[in-house]
């Protein structure tokens, strides 16, 4: 089958790889119909996530058709069209039992800090991902969800990660009616977080980024105020001033390791890889939020130490909240929102690219070429 093949930092190609096989009674084999490239895939692509091995296939935002089932799978049948949450979750461990599906204890041998994630290095469990024609889906009774009849496949694939992660970013912010919410990052997750902040009753939503076409998009899509930090001078002072010197009630870091904006963070986190990423957005979030405020973190960072102003967290009495989105927990509500037209996730997809052109797709997304917001890879069988 055709599959994306990671060859080293900034190098990926399409290759022929063996078909995945059932390896566990609760496995399914899914023929992929859509597979997005996620902003967090760029951390792998750039070589900043440890234990990202050459030869691996990325891809954790997947829809497809069930082709084969293990003997222990009861909730799916061959031919079902499914959306596959990016978390691999057993449904049995104490963390899954508490609906912390992103923190499953039975899906990742290599790291205890995170559950299994499709195609996300061996730190994420060592699973090949869905930027391929077929993918092995463990615990098929738990994660994969049959796509509701009539749902646009582009909406469905966005429900595997972008929508739940953006929604949970807002949810973790504990937003109260009238709150001012600042979202750092106008990538797909930041855009969705800004949109979802309204669903929790925000009174004002501000998005900060440095890519003008994305700011223009989120300004209209969320809708919200959108500012290019390059034109603001000191971002923190700007946000203090615009909140009558109080600071925002809630700040959301929707950028993670690839943040631009502060030279030292960029050098240490992105160029030298001496910390778990460039924590510029998180730094700004901690310093821009009000005393007693909440900082919600969905931006992905590497597992090693990262410089953040932790002293200010203590002195300001902040609450930091973060997690990988618990997709399965959120799906029923989010499917409703999509079906009722409250959320329109497919509007974020700007590029539909054949799987065979995966090298160009990564370049377009990582270099933000051609006004790209969200690229989706489409295998040959789903194009005919």
């Amino acid at each position: 089958m055709l599959a994306m093949n990671f060859r080293g930092p900034l190098r990926v190609r399409i290759d022929h790889k063996p078909m995945p096989e059932i390896q566990h009674p609760q496995d399914a084999i899914v023929r992929v119909t859509r597979s997005c490239i996620c902003g967090s895939d760029l951390h792998l692509y750039n070589g900043s996530v440890p234990d990202t091995r050459v030869g691996m296939t990325f891809g954790h935002e997947v829809t497809g058709v069930v082709e084969e089932l293990g003997a222990g799978v009861g909730n799916l049948k061959i031919g079902d069209q499914v959306l596959v949450p990016f978390n691999i979750a057993c449904g049995k461990c104490v963390f899954c039992q508490q609906e912390l599906y992103g923190n499953c204890h039975e899906s990742n041998s290599q790291a205890t800090a995170v559950g299994g994630i499709f195609g996300y290095s061996h730190t994420g469990g060592g699973y090949d991902g869905g930027q391929a024609e077929y993918v092995r889906v463990p615990y098929a009774d738990v994660g994969p969800t049959v796509i509701p009849e009539g749902m646009d496949p582009d909406d469905a694939v966005m429900l595997t990660d972008v929508v739940p992660t953006g929604y949970q970013a807002a949810e973790m912010g504990g937003i109260q009616p009238g709150d001012t919410v600042v979202v750092f990052g106008a990538g797909p997750v930041g855009i969705m977080a800004a949109r979802c902040a309204w669903l929790f009753g925000a009174g004002r939503v501000i998005v900060i980024d440095h890519v003008d076409y994305r700011l223009e998009f989120v300004k209209n899509y969320a809708p919200c105020e959108a500012y290019n930090f390059k034109s603001l001078g000191d971002v923190v002072v700007f946000l203090k001033r615009t909140t009558d010197w109080m600071g925002a009630d809630v700040c959301i870091d929707a950028v993670g390791a690839e943040a631009a904006g502060r030279v030292m963070q960029t050098i240490l986190g992105r160029k030298l890889l001496m910390q778990g990423g460039s924590a510029t957005a998180l730094h700004w979030a901690i310093n821009s939020v009000k005393k007693g405020g909440i900082v919600s973190i969905v931006g992905v960072y590497g597992p090693i130490d990262t410089l953040v102003p932790i002293g200010n967290v203590v002195n300001k009495g902040l609450t930091l909240r973060g997690n990988q989105a618990s997709v399965k927990r959120l799906l029923p509500r989010l499917i409703e929102h999509v079906q009722n037209g409250i959320l329109d996730p497919k509007a974020l997809i700007t590029h539909r690219i054949p799987l065979e052109e995966v090298s160009d797709a990564y370049r377009i997304f990582s270099a933000k070429l051609d006004n790209c917001i969200k690229p989706v890879l489409i295998p040959p069988s789903a194009r005919s």
Partner: protein, 181 residues
């Protein structure tokens, strides 16, 4: 000085005056992300899913006693990078001894990837793998600039090195003449 071991005993909380009097289960900062059931208090005791079988080497964090019930079998450790990865897994996720060797192994793996390609008679098209076709289509001016700058820097470096080697050859040629005198 004598090293005295601290003996820890489980406390019976019912005997602790005031225990839990201010407990407020709704005041949980993780709600609604977590539907608290305190299952963790029973330890690693849940009924585990069936164990995936494999003949592939799976490394596991030393912060857990076993491999997870399912796991990925992509790209098992091999070669020099595999040796480094095995070493890294002797250390916990809290240690640089874990992560830094893994980063090193990743870079070694890139070199091994080239060797693997060559051994199969495949010369990787690095430009295509880096998506230069997309750069050419959508960002041509910048790409041309970068190529030109790269070419100028490379040419200057080669010229400098050659001038250096010319100088040293000239010196070598002059030395014997002096010796002959």
């Amino acid at each position: 000085m004598e090293n005295t071991a601290i003996e820890n005993t489980v406390q019976d909380t019912s005997q602790i005056k005031g225990w839990g009097v201010d407990s407020d289960t709704e005041n949980d900062p993780t709600y609604p992300m977590k539907h608290r059931n305190n299952g963790e208090h029973a330890g690693y005791s849940w009924e585990r899913p069936p164990q995936q079988q494999t003949d592939v080497e799976i490394l596991h964090s030393n912060e857990r006693p076993n491999v997870s019930a399912v796991f990925g079998t992509s790209t098992p450790p091999a070669g020099l990078s595999g040796m480094i990865r095995r070493y890294a897994f002797k250390y916990s996720e809290s240690s640089y001894g874990h992560w830094l060797p893994l980063m090193l192994a990743d870079r070694v793996g890139v070199v091994e990837g080239y060797l693997e390609d060559f051994s199969r008679g495949h010369v990787p098209n690095v430009f295509a793998e880096r998506g230069w076709k997309a750069e050419w289509k959508h960002n041509r001016t910048s790409l041309v600039k970068r190529v030109l700058v790269g070419a100028v820097v490379a040419t200057a470096a080669v010229a400098y090195l050659r001038s250096g080697s010319d100088d040293s050859s000239a010196k070598k040629e002059r030395r014997p003449r002096r010796a002959r005198r």
